[in-house]
Protein backbone atom coordinates (compact mmCIF):
# COMPACT_ATOMS: atom_id res chain seq x y z
CA UNK A 1 0.00 0.00 0.00
CA UNK A 2 1.43 3.39 -1.01
CA UNK A 3 1.48 6.33 1.40
CA UNK A 4 -1.26 7.99 -0.67
CA UNK A 5 -3.50 4.93 -0.41
CA UNK A 6 -2.79 4.66 3.29
CA UNK A 7 -3.78 8.30 3.69
CA UNK A 8 -7.09 7.93 1.85
CA UNK A 9 -7.87 4.88 3.98
CA UNK A 10 -7.24 6.85 7.17
CA UNK A 11 -9.49 9.67 5.98
CA UNK A 12 -12.25 7.30 4.91
CA UNK A 13 -12.05 5.50 8.22
CA UNK A 14 -12.27 8.73 10.22
CA UNK A 15 -14.45 10.92 8.03
CA UNK A 16 -17.09 11.15 10.75
CA UNK A 17 -14.62 12.81 13.12
CA UNK A 18 -13.90 15.55 10.57
CA UNK A 19 -17.60 16.05 10.00
CA UNK A 20 -18.34 16.42 13.70
CA UNK A 21 -15.47 18.85 14.25
CA UNK A 22 -16.49 21.05 11.31
CA UNK A 23 -20.08 21.09 12.53
CA UNK A 24 -18.96 22.63 15.83
CA UNK A 25 -16.57 25.25 14.46
CA UNK A 26 -18.70 26.69 11.65
CA UNK A 27 -22.09 28.33 11.41
CA UNK A 28 -23.22 27.49 7.90
CA UNK A 29 -22.91 24.75 5.29
CA UNK A 30 -20.59 26.75 3.04
CA UNK A 31 -18.05 27.39 5.80
CA UNK A 32 -18.39 23.81 6.98
CA UNK A 33 -17.65 22.50 3.50
CA UNK A 34 -14.65 24.79 3.21
CA UNK A 35 -13.26 23.85 6.62
CA UNK A 36 -13.79 20.15 5.86
CA UNK A 37 -11.70 20.49 2.73
CA UNK A 38 -9.02 22.49 4.54
CA UNK A 39 -8.76 19.84 7.28
CA UNK A 40 -8.33 17.06 4.71
CA UNK A 41 -5.61 19.11 3.03
CA UNK A 42 -3.80 19.84 6.32
CA UNK A 43 -3.98 16.16 7.25
CA UNK A 44 -2.56 15.27 3.85
CA UNK A 45 0.35 17.70 4.38
CA UNK A 46 0.97 16.50 7.88
CA UNK A 47 0.62 12.78 7.05
CA UNK A 48 3.90 12.89 5.12
CA UNK A 49 5.77 13.58 8.34
CA UNK A 50 3.57 11.57 10.70
CA UNK A 51 5.85 9.00 12.27
CA UNK A 52 3.28 7.14 14.29
CA UNK A 53 4.57 8.28 17.68
CA UNK A 54 1.04 9.17 18.68
CA UNK A 55 -2.18 7.27 18.02
CA UNK A 56 -3.60 8.05 14.58
CA UNK A 57 -6.80 9.41 16.13
CA UNK A 58 -4.83 11.68 18.49
CA UNK A 59 -2.86 13.05 15.52
CA UNK A 60 -6.06 13.52 13.57
CA UNK A 61 -7.90 15.37 16.35
CA UNK A 62 -4.87 17.55 16.91
CA UNK A 63 -4.47 18.61 13.28
CA UNK A 64 -8.22 19.01 12.72
CA UNK A 65 -8.74 21.09 15.86
CA UNK A 66 -5.69 23.26 15.15
CA UNK A 67 -6.91 23.83 11.60
CA UNK A 68 -10.31 24.86 12.93
CA UNK A 69 -8.72 27.46 15.23
CA UNK A 70 -6.69 29.05 12.47
CA UNK A 71 -9.43 28.82 9.86
CA UNK A 72 -10.23 32.27 8.57
CA UNK A 73 -13.63 32.69 7.06
CA UNK A 74 -12.37 35.05 4.41
CA UNK A 75 -10.29 32.23 2.88
CA UNK A 76 -13.34 30.82 1.26
CA UNK A 77 -13.50 33.79 -1.08
CA UNK A 78 -12.42 32.88 -4.57
CA UNK A 79 -11.48 29.29 -3.81
CA UNK A 80 -12.89 26.44 -5.88
CA UNK A 81 -14.81 23.95 -3.83
CA UNK A 82 -15.03 20.28 -4.65
CA UNK A 83 -18.66 19.22 -4.68
CA UNK A 84 -18.76 17.43 -1.37
CA UNK A 85 -22.28 18.47 -0.43
CA UNK A 86 -23.12 14.86 0.20
CA UNK A 87 -20.69 14.72 3.08
CA UNK A 88 -22.55 17.47 4.78
CA UNK A 89 -25.97 15.99 4.49
CA UNK A 90 -25.61 13.42 7.20
CA UNK A 91 -28.99 12.99 8.73
CA UNK A 92 -30.18 10.82 11.44
CA UNK A 93 -32.29 8.05 10.05
CA UNK A 94 -34.24 7.87 13.22
CA UNK A 95 -37.89 8.58 13.06
CA UNK A 96 -37.59 10.22 16.43
CA UNK A 97 -37.75 13.93 15.76
CA UNK A 98 -37.33 14.65 19.44
CA UNK A 99 -33.80 13.24 19.30
CA UNK A 100 -33.08 15.22 16.14
CA UNK A 101 -34.29 18.39 17.84
CA UNK A 102 -32.15 17.64 20.87
CA UNK A 103 -29.11 17.19 18.62
CA UNK A 104 -29.76 20.58 17.01
CA UNK A 105 -30.08 22.08 20.50
CA UNK A 106 -26.84 20.37 21.49
CA UNK A 107 -25.01 22.00 18.57
CA UNK A 108 -26.50 25.38 19.41
CA UNK A 109 -25.29 25.07 22.99
CA UNK A 110 -21.77 24.01 22.00
CA UNK A 111 -21.50 26.87 19.53
CA UNK A 112 -22.21 29.33 22.33
CA UNK A 113 -19.09 28.18 24.21
CA UNK A 114 -15.75 29.90 23.70
CA UNK A 115 -13.06 28.35 21.52
CA UNK A 116 -11.17 26.70 24.41
CA UNK A 117 -14.34 25.15 25.79
CA UNK A 118 -15.48 24.00 22.35
CA UNK A 119 -12.33 21.91 21.91
CA UNK A 120 -12.59 20.36 25.36
CA UNK A 121 -16.31 19.54 25.22
CA UNK A 122 -15.93 18.08 21.74
CA UNK A 123 -13.23 15.68 22.89
CA UNK A 124 -15.23 14.84 26.01
CA UNK A 125 -18.31 14.05 23.93
CA UNK A 126 -16.13 11.95 21.64
CA UNK A 127 -15.56 9.75 24.65
CA UNK A 128 -11.99 10.78 25.37
CA UNK A 129 -10.84 10.50 28.97
CA UNK A 130 -9.04 13.29 30.84
CA UNK A 131 -5.60 11.92 29.91
CA UNK A 132 -6.42 11.83 26.22
CA UNK A 133 -8.01 15.30 26.29
CA UNK A 134 -4.92 16.59 28.09
CA UNK A 135 -2.64 14.99 25.50
CA UNK A 136 -4.51 16.51 22.56
CA UNK A 137 -5.13 19.95 24.04
CA UNK A 138 -2.00 20.52 26.11
CA UNK A 139 -3.95 21.36 29.27
CA UNK A 140 -3.29 19.36 32.43
CA UNK A 141 -5.76 16.73 33.63
CA UNK A 142 -6.74 19.00 36.53
CA UNK A 143 -7.31 21.90 34.20
CA UNK A 144 -9.41 19.77 31.88
CA UNK A 145 -11.54 18.75 34.88
CA UNK A 146 -11.91 22.35 36.07
CA UNK A 147 -12.87 23.54 32.62
CA UNK A 148 -15.40 20.75 32.20
CA UNK A 149 -17.07 21.71 35.49
CA UNK A 150 -17.16 25.30 34.32
CA UNK A 151 -18.75 24.21 31.03
CA UNK A 152 -21.33 22.24 33.01
CA UNK A 153 -22.22 25.35 34.99
CA UNK A 154 -22.38 27.43 31.84
CA UNK A 155 -24.75 24.98 30.20
CA UNK A 156 -27.02 25.05 33.24
CA UNK A 157 -27.12 28.86 33.13
CA UNK A 158 -27.95 28.70 29.43
CA UNK A 159 -30.99 26.61 30.24
CA UNK A 160 -32.09 29.02 32.94
CA UNK A 161 -31.79 31.87 30.46
Amino acid sequence: MTKKQAFTEVIKENQGIIFKITSVYTNNKEDQQDLYQEIVYQLFKSYKTFKGNAKISTWMYRVALNTSITYLKKEKRGGVRIPIEKILTYKTEQEDTIIEDRIVLLHTKIKKLNIIEKGIILLYLEGKNYDEIAEITGFTNTNVGTRLSRIKEKLKTQILK
Partner: protein, 203 residues
Protein backbone atom coordinates in the same frame (compact mmCIF):
# COMPACT_ATOMS: atom_id res chain seq x y z
CA UNK B 1 -28.98 19.97 29.23
CA UNK B 2 -26.65 17.88 31.40
CA UNK B 3 -23.26 16.65 30.19
CA UNK B 4 -24.42 13.06 30.35
CA UNK B 5 -27.42 13.77 28.14
CA UNK B 6 -25.16 15.62 25.72
CA UNK B 7 -22.84 12.64 25.65
CA UNK B 8 -25.66 10.26 24.87
CA UNK B 9 -26.99 12.52 22.08
CA UNK B 10 -23.48 12.83 20.65
CA UNK B 11 -23.19 9.06 20.73
CA UNK B 12 -26.40 8.83 18.68
CA UNK B 13 -25.05 11.32 16.18
CA UNK B 14 -21.70 9.50 15.96
CA UNK B 15 -23.43 6.20 15.31
CA UNK B 16 -25.39 7.65 12.39
CA UNK B 17 -22.40 9.50 10.96
CA UNK B 18 -20.18 6.42 11.16
CA UNK B 19 -22.71 4.38 9.21
CA UNK B 20 -22.65 6.78 6.27
CA UNK B 21 -19.29 6.42 4.59
CA UNK B 22 -19.48 8.78 1.67
CA UNK B 23 -15.90 9.77 0.85
CA UNK B 24 -14.14 7.94 -1.97
CA UNK B 25 -10.40 7.80 -2.76
CA UNK B 26 -11.02 10.00 -5.78
CA UNK B 27 -12.87 12.65 -3.79
CA UNK B 28 -10.15 12.81 -1.13
CA UNK B 29 -7.39 13.23 -3.71
CA UNK B 30 -9.47 15.85 -5.55
CA UNK B 31 -9.95 17.79 -2.33
CA UNK B 32 -6.22 17.91 -1.57
CA UNK B 33 -5.31 18.69 -5.19
CA UNK B 34 -7.71 21.61 -5.29
CA UNK B 35 -6.18 23.07 -2.14
CA UNK B 36 -2.64 22.72 -3.48
CA UNK B 37 -3.62 24.47 -6.71
CA UNK B 38 -5.43 27.30 -4.98
CA UNK B 39 -2.71 28.14 -2.48
CA UNK B 40 -2.74 31.73 -3.62
CA UNK B 41 -6.46 32.03 -2.92
CA UNK B 42 -5.89 30.62 0.49
CA UNK B 43 -3.50 33.34 1.51
CA UNK B 44 -5.46 36.54 1.60
CA UNK B 45 -6.02 37.37 -2.03
CA UNK B 46 -7.84 40.64 -1.25
CA UNK B 47 -4.88 41.85 0.81
CA UNK B 48 -2.52 40.94 -2.04
CA UNK B 49 -4.59 42.87 -4.57
CA UNK B 50 -4.62 45.81 -2.16
CA UNK B 51 -0.84 45.63 -1.88
CA UNK B 52 -0.50 45.60 -5.67
CA UNK B 53 -2.65 48.73 -5.93
CA UNK B 54 -0.49 50.44 -3.28
CA UNK B 55 2.73 49.49 -5.07
CA UNK B 56 1.37 50.82 -8.36
CA UNK B 57 0.52 54.10 -6.63
CA UNK B 58 4.00 54.31 -5.12
CA UNK B 59 5.57 53.60 -8.51
CA UNK B 60 3.46 56.33 -10.10
CA UNK B 61 4.70 58.90 -7.59
CA UNK B 62 8.29 57.68 -7.91
CA UNK B 63 8.25 58.00 -11.70
CA UNK B 64 6.86 61.55 -11.40
CA UNK B 65 8.93 62.54 -8.38
CA UNK B 66 10.81 65.23 -10.36
CA UNK B 67 7.52 67.16 -10.72
CA UNK B 68 7.43 67.73 -6.98
CA UNK B 69 9.29 71.03 -6.77
CA UNK B 70 8.65 72.36 -3.26
CA UNK B 71 9.69 71.08 0.14
CA UNK B 72 6.08 70.35 1.15
CA UNK B 73 5.36 68.37 -2.01
CA UNK B 74 8.59 66.41 -1.55
CA UNK B 75 7.64 65.68 2.07
CA UNK B 76 4.16 64.56 0.99
CA UNK B 77 5.69 62.43 -1.77
CA UNK B 78 8.18 60.70 0.52
CA UNK B 79 5.51 60.03 3.16
CA UNK B 80 3.05 58.65 0.61
CA UNK B 81 5.64 56.41 -1.08
CA UNK B 82 6.80 55.04 2.28
CA UNK B 83 3.20 54.47 3.36
CA UNK B 84 2.25 52.73 0.12
CA UNK B 85 5.28 50.43 0.19
CA UNK B 86 5.85 49.71 3.86
CA UNK B 87 2.33 49.25 5.17
CA UNK B 88 1.24 46.51 2.74
CA UNK B 89 4.52 44.66 3.32
CA UNK B 90 4.18 44.81 7.11
CA UNK B 91 0.51 43.88 6.90
CA UNK B 92 1.05 40.94 4.53
CA UNK B 93 4.00 39.70 6.56
CA UNK B 94 1.90 39.71 9.68
CA UNK B 95 -0.97 37.94 7.91
CA UNK B 96 1.34 35.22 6.58
CA UNK B 97 2.76 34.80 10.06
CA UNK B 98 -0.72 34.40 11.49
CA UNK B 99 -1.56 31.79 8.87
CA UNK B 100 1.69 29.90 9.15
CA UNK B 101 1.19 28.54 12.62
CA UNK B 102 2.38 24.94 12.63
CA UNK B 103 -0.62 22.66 12.92
CA UNK B 104 0.80 19.20 13.40
CA UNK B 105 3.51 19.49 16.03
CA UNK B 106 1.69 21.72 18.48
CA UNK B 107 -1.26 21.05 20.73
CA UNK B 108 -4.58 22.92 20.90
CA UNK B 109 -3.43 25.25 23.65
CA UNK B 110 -0.13 26.16 21.96
CA UNK B 111 -1.86 26.80 18.65
CA UNK B 112 -4.45 29.00 20.36
CA UNK B 113 -1.74 31.04 22.09
CA UNK B 114 0.35 31.46 18.93
CA UNK B 115 -2.63 32.25 16.74
CA UNK B 116 -4.15 34.73 19.20
CA UNK B 117 -0.82 36.55 19.62
CA UNK B 118 -0.32 36.80 15.87
CA UNK B 119 -3.90 37.88 15.39
CA UNK B 120 -3.49 40.58 18.01
CA UNK B 121 -0.32 41.81 16.28
CA UNK B 122 -2.08 41.82 12.92
CA UNK B 123 -4.99 43.81 14.33
CA UNK B 124 -2.61 46.38 15.86
CA UNK B 125 -1.06 46.87 12.42
CA UNK B 126 -4.54 47.32 10.94
CA UNK B 127 -5.27 49.89 13.63
CA UNK B 128 -2.12 51.90 12.92
CA UNK B 129 -2.85 51.73 9.21
CA UNK B 130 -6.19 53.45 9.88
CA UNK B 131 -4.41 56.27 11.72
CA UNK B 132 -1.83 56.60 8.97
CA UNK B 133 -4.54 56.66 6.33
CA UNK B 134 -5.86 59.84 7.95
CA UNK B 135 -2.56 61.49 7.10
CA UNK B 136 -2.59 60.00 3.63
CA UNK B 137 -5.85 61.79 2.85
CA UNK B 138 -4.09 65.11 3.34
CA UNK B 139 -1.11 64.21 1.21
CA UNK B 140 -2.64 62.19 -1.63
CA UNK B 141 -4.87 64.84 -3.14
CA UNK B 142 -2.30 67.67 -3.34
CA UNK B 143 0.14 65.14 -4.82
CA UNK B 144 -2.35 64.01 -7.45
CA UNK B 145 -3.13 67.64 -8.34
CA UNK B 146 0.52 68.45 -8.69
CA UNK B 147 1.52 65.38 -10.70
CA UNK B 148 -1.52 65.21 -13.00
CA UNK B 149 -2.40 68.92 -13.48
CA UNK B 150 0.72 70.67 -12.18
CA UNK B 151 -1.46 72.59 -9.69
CA UNK B 152 -0.47 73.67 -6.20
CA UNK B 153 -3.67 72.79 -4.35
CA UNK B 154 -2.16 73.93 -1.04
CA UNK B 155 -2.81 77.49 -2.13
CA UNK B 156 -6.24 76.93 -3.64
CA UNK B 157 -8.44 77.47 -0.64
CA UNK B 158 -11.70 76.81 -2.53
CA UNK B 159 -10.84 73.16 -2.99
CA UNK B 160 -9.96 72.72 0.68
CA UNK B 161 -13.28 74.20 1.75
CA UNK B 162 -15.10 71.41 -0.09
CA UNK B 163 -12.59 68.60 0.17
CA UNK B 164 -11.65 68.97 3.79
CA UNK B 165 -15.14 68.84 5.39
CA UNK B 166 -16.22 65.93 3.16
CA UNK B 167 -13.08 63.95 3.94
CA UNK B 168 -13.24 64.76 7.65
CA UNK B 169 -16.83 63.53 7.91
CA UNK B 170 -16.02 60.41 5.89
CA UNK B 171 -12.88 59.70 7.89
CA UNK B 172 -14.59 60.27 11.19
CA UNK B 173 -17.17 57.57 10.49
CA UNK B 174 -14.79 55.26 8.66
CA UNK B 175 -12.10 55.35 11.34
CA UNK B 176 -14.63 55.07 14.16
CA UNK B 177 -16.11 51.96 12.54
CA UNK B 178 -12.69 50.52 11.69
CA UNK B 179 -11.21 51.09 15.14
CA UNK B 180 -14.30 49.61 16.78
CA UNK B 181 -13.99 46.42 14.69
CA UNK B 182 -10.27 46.14 15.40
CA UNK B 183 -10.77 46.77 19.13
CA UNK B 184 -13.44 44.07 19.36
CA UNK B 185 -11.23 41.43 17.73
CA UNK B 186 -8.17 42.49 19.72
CA UNK B 187 -10.14 42.39 22.95
CA UNK B 188 -11.42 38.86 22.30
CA UNK B 189 -7.85 37.69 21.50
CA UNK B 190 -6.61 39.35 24.69
CA UNK B 191 -9.30 37.71 26.79
CA UNK B 192 -8.44 34.33 25.33
CA UNK B 193 -4.73 34.84 25.98
CA UNK B 194 -5.42 35.89 29.57
CA UNK B 195 -7.49 32.76 30.11
CA UNK B 196 -4.77 30.54 28.61
CA UNK B 197 -1.99 32.23 30.56
CA UNK B 198 -4.00 31.87 33.77
CA UNK B 199 -4.33 28.14 33.16
CA UNK B 200 -0.57 27.91 32.46
CA UNK B 201 0.29 29.58 35.73
CA UNK B 202 -2.18 27.50 37.72
CA UNK B 203 -0.79 24.24 36.23
Amino acid sequence: MELEEMKSLWFNLSKEVEQQKILTDHLIIEMTKERINSKLNKIALPEMIGALVCFTGALFILVNFSKLDTWYFITCGVFTILYLILLPIVSLRSLFKMKNVSLDDTNYKQTLIKFSRNKKRYMMIQKSSIYFSLLLVFTAMPLAGKIINNKDIFFESNIWYIYLPIMLVFLFFFSRWGIKCVNNVTQSSEDLLKDLEKSSSSN
